[in-house]
Assembly symmetry: C2
Homo-oligomer: 204 residues x 2
DNA sequence: ACCTGAACACCGTTCAAGT
DNA sequence: ACCTGAACACCGTTCAAGT
């Protein structure tokens, strides 16, 4: 179980001082991006986002030089939600199987809010140059917390690596996303993974 | 285990009668597409393909109205390779674990030839309107053959659905593709899935 | 320091003209 | 029946001019 440094992140966009109009445009762009991403997925037209925000396209590029920078900003509070989900799941005191079902289910559900986001997270996990990389670290850390908790109680098979599990689950989220599966329809896949990492119930 | 109708497919593109020059252009386009897809992935510029083939862009659209039609054609013999792989694996007489390792490994390796192909296969699996859908049926059928073979020997857990396994493995292939993982680096994920579908060794 | 919007570049797609 | 390539449309990206 690879331990990941706990992700303590100051909210970067509020920390940075900005002129009042710039801040207003930043906020309008983020709100517009959330709307449009929700409607058309993470590959939506950036021009449409600028239009919806009522600013020129240049303004969008000033604040978010690449599409991934914009996605990263949109994902901020969302990744914090996922992180707090992991704490809740651990605190709930469910058995190992239910813990994983709940955790993986929430993960897939959250990541599926924006179409295309799952694929982004999936590939950014191993790409340090991606603006989303740091956000992924939060998710990796949250997942590691849950698995370490179960491993500490001897509930996992030997040699289970939380990064591999994370890759798998984000892969499932991507399948669910691209095939337009509901959360329920992704549980059979999640159950296979859960069977694959839980120690056999027969062994005490 | 859902049984799929065995995929008997006549080579459609040789069956269709064409003018000699049209056939030549068709062949040149396919060859160019294979080259360019191999270099730049399945999202490569269609214009580049037409240029490499030495034909006008209109000719490409005449033969392949959509990008997926072109990908479908490029995948033809490739999907036949995968299908014959499944027969070889079954005939090899390996134990259940090695059978799955070999089969899944070949699957991921084959699907990874063109970047972006795994994602295409993944989403086309559940999309009947996709030109690639039929090709996916070949893969689904091949995978079902292998799993049915193991299920017949009582090696699989109850309730394992080959379609779900196929979704999972194509998801892993997509992760491997987008994260630029080697085949070796994807085996930990495959092993988790294998553990998840194999009956416990302890139970006779 | 920031915004605007015209301008450019790139690429997918169509279609009139040609054989 | 098929091919060509100019033309169009769309969208991401840049940058000179303006505040």
């Amino acid at each position: 179980m690879a331990s990941t440094t706990p992700a303590v992140i100051a909210s970067e966009e509020t920390a940075k001082p900005r002129r009042a109009d710039a801040q207003r445009n930043y906020d309008k762009l983020l709100a517009a991006a959330r709307e449009i991403f929700r409607e058309h997925g993470a590959q939506a037209s950036l021009d449409d986002i600028a239009k919806r925000a009522g600013v020129g396209p240049g303004t969008l590029y000033r604040h978010f030089p690449t599409r991934d920078d914009l996605i990263d900003a949109v994902m901020r509070e969302w990744s914090e939600d996922v992180d707090s989900d992991s704490d809740e799941v651990i605190a709930a005191g469910l058995d190992a199987q239910e813990t994983l079902r709940t955790w993986f289910g929430k993960f897939v559900e959250n990541i599926g809010v924006y179409r295309g986001a799952a694929a982004k997270v999936m590939s950014a996990m191993d790409d340090e140059s991606s603006p989303i990389y740091r956000k992924c670290q939060v998710l990796v850390g949250a997942n590691d917390k849950v698995l370490t908790h179960l491993a500490g109680r001897g509930e996992l098979r030997d040699g289970v690596d939380s990064r591999e599990v994370m890759r798998l689950v984000s892969g499932i989220a991507t399948v669910a996303d691209q095939s337009h599966l509901s959360v329920d329809e992704s549980t059979p896949m999640l159950d296979i993974v859960i069977q694959g990492i839980l120690r056999d119930p027969s062994a005490p």
